[in-house]
Amino acid sequence: MSEKLYQIISEVFNIEIGKIDETTSPESLEQWDSFNFYVLLNEIEKEFNIKFDIDETLEIKKIGDFKVLLQKRGIEWK
């Protein structure tokens, strides 16, 4: 599902898909501010029809962390 996830990230942050990888984080991506992060969360929740717990949202420090959370919900990361 990485393709779909990267698609959403690219649309929310308005960047090319090629520039996203698992290490992408607020430090490496200017658009990733606290508000946009919640916009991204909201889009991912809608797209995969899931909800993140509030404590999980605090653990997300880079794109790779979404991988763990999605896998936890049985969404496979190809």
Binding site: E11, V12, N14, F35, V39, L40, K46, I54
Partner: protein
């Protein structure tokens, strides 16, 4: 972003807005008691979709008190035209929101009185320090009480208290034309508290309207923007088959179209009822249908379940012409711009054709499911006005009279003869409290016969009318078919030696009857009486005011630089078929 309803879409779009130089402009300030990120971006995008160039100011997080109470704050430096003050109930009630019964009824009453005073003071201070129209969100009535089903038995419970605060503020501003309430509870009712309030987002960043619902909330704000900028739609143009009734009259016949009686038929009846209600409020209706005229008219005249009848339509085009030509004709016959029209048609091909050919017309994308028609119509925000004037209510009668005038004109062959028989009278009305809203509305909406196209809000007209060096008057026009209401306006700046015509406009409704000539003629007469030697005015060309291009020239004004200048000793044009009833 694929989803054009999502906040992410608006955030991205807001970075690439293209400004249409010819469009309207507006300056909007947004002040909030919680995180309102995304509201400003969404509003700017929605404005640009409506050809409005929106400049915006967003107060710092929860700094609305400072912005409003400091006279030299950034808010006032920004000089907004519209200010949204978005307050929320948790913020206003504080701990009382959680522990409403920590105070007794008397203490709660006192508490709510204080809050009302605080909020009223904020509203009045914005008005004092700026010219801005102010829109306050009402407080959301809590759906929870620790008293549960016993809450209803409380004399002055938490719910009652919030309802009281809302009600009293509404009452205080009832007669104030510059302060309005955004009925937030209506918004919450429509979409549901469980959707609008997202606890996770609230605990994470004090977001009290969820990210998902920010765009929908902005739709509510846009209603005020549309009303303020005057881009309100005036006329709904309707197809017939599968739009006003189910089926095709030419094929199914009078007895087999679906109107009432069954589930499909009921959806069309209710759609017609919603249209009739808008018509009663002054939105004019027209028909644009490919049909045999007689077949279709038989339904409109005789079908027992038809809600809209012949007299509800100000203009009827039932023929085999294409829809675009008919829309042109409707706009011409009603004398309103294409940009004042909304078009409803179930046929996607017709819709695409109209969208492509007439970009100014708002084409509504009707779904194939007719049960959704009502929902679409009642969710449209395009008919908003800041204040509904008598002219708006009377409009549909005026257009009916207009239809009869056209029929009469076709009977009388000679134009002069026609005008003489029309028995036109005009009344000159000074700008008082009754006339000012209409004068402002005309300056905002009139495009064709408008010499300078200066847009003035209520407030500005009001201050002009108190200025001894200005003449601000409205012209009421009536004829043998009825009263057209106030349809002409001029604003003149007086000095001892000359009069400058700042604004001169005539609603398209009464164009071509010599009213404009009488208006200017009597300005000239009055100038002579006051021994003013010179009258001058500008013609500022726009995309739409060509009809007024030669107006000054016809009156023997001479072009001097930017101005057209008239020496009051000169001869000028005379109009005899109109009676002037002097200043009321």
């Amino acid at each position: 972003m694929k989803n054009e309803e999502s906040l992410a879409y608006f955030l991205n779009e807001s970075k690439t807005i293209k400004i249409d130089e010819l469009g309207k402009k507006i300056r909007i300030a947004i002040l909030g008691s919680f995180t309102i990120n995304g509201v400003e971006e969404t509003l700017r995008v929605k404005c640009s979709q409506n050809n409005i160039d929106c400049r915006s100011f967003v107060g710092e997080y929860n700094q609305y008190n400072q912005e409003i109470l400091r006279e030299n704050s950034e808010l006032y430096k920004f000089n907004p035209e519209l200010t949204f003050l978005i307050l929320d109930v948790r913020h206003i009630l504080g701990e009382l929101f959680f522990y409403p019964y920590s105070l007794n009824d008397l203490e709660k009453k006192e508490f709510s009185e204080n809050k009302i005073q605080e909020i009223m003071n904020l509203l009045k201070t914005i008005r004092k320090n700026s010219k801005s129209q102010v829109i306050l969100t009402e407080l959301q009535v809590p759906t929870y009480s620790p008293y549960g089903i016993n809450e209803q038995k409380e004399e002055f419970g938490i719910k009652q208290m919030v309802i009281e605060i809302n009600k009293k503020i509404k009452h205080e501003i009832k007669n104030d034309n510059f302060i309005s309430i955004l009925e937030f509870n209506e918004f919450v009712q429509k979409y549901g508290e469980q959707n609008i309030f997202n606890y996770k987002e609230y605990f994470s960043g004090d977001m009290k309207i969820s990210i998902e619902y920010i765009p929908k909330f902005c739709n509510e704000l846009m209603r005020f923007v549309i009303a303020y900028t005057g881009i309100t739609k005036k006329c709904i143009v309707l197809d017939l088959d599968n739009t006003l009734w189910g089926g095709v009259i030419g094929e199914d016949g009078f007895d087999n179209i679906q109107l009432g009686e069954n589930p499909v038929g009921r959806s069309f009846v209710e759609f017609q009822k919603r249209l009739l209600a808008l018509n009663q409020r002054g939105i004019i209706l027209a028909i644009n249908s490919k049909n045999n005229f007689d077949d279709a008219m038989e339904v409109i005249r005789k079908h027992p379940n038809m809600v809209l009848r012949e007299d509800n339509f100000s203009c009827v085009r039932i023929n085999w012409q294409d829809k675009v030509s008919n829309l042109y004709e409707i706009s011409k016959e009603l004398n309103i711009g294409l940009d004042s029209l909304v078009f409803f048609d179930d046929d996607p091909v017709n819709r695409e054709f109209v969208k492509h050919e007439l970009k100014q017309v708002l084409v509504v994308d009707l779904p194939t499911d007719s049960s959704q028609y009502c929902n679409i119509l009642t969710n449209m925000k395009n008919f908003e006005l800041l204040k509904i004037t008598d002219e708006d209510i009377k409009r549909k009668e005026m257009y009916l009279e207009q239809r009869k005038r056209i029929e009469f004109k076709n009977e009388v062959s000679n134009l002069d003869e026609f005008l003489k028989q029309m028995d036109i009278k005009i009344k000159i009305k000074k700008a008082d409290n009754f006339v000012i809203p209409r004068i402002s509305q005309l300056t905002l909406k009139t495009n064709q016969f408008n010499l300078t196209t200066k847009r003035y809000q209520h407030e500005e007209i009001s201050s002009f009318s108190n200025d001894k060096n200005k003449i601000v008057e409205g012209i009421e026009v009536s004829d043998k078919f009825g009263n057209n209401g106030i349809t002409g306006v001029y604003i003149i700046e007086k000095t001892d030696s000359e009069w400058i015509i700042d604004t001169f406009l005539l609603s398209c409704r009464v164009m071509g009857r010599g009213v404009e000539d009488i208006m200017l003629g009597q300005i000239i007469e009055r100038a002579k009486q006051e021994n003013v030697k010179k009258i001058k005015g500008k013609f500022i060309p726009t995309a739409k005011n060509k009809p007024a291009e030669n107006f000054y020239k016809e009156f023997n004004f001479r072009k001097e630089g930017d101005f057209w200048v008239f020496n009051t000793e000169q001869e000028t044009k005379k109009v005899e078929h109109i009676k002037v009833i002097e200043n009321e």
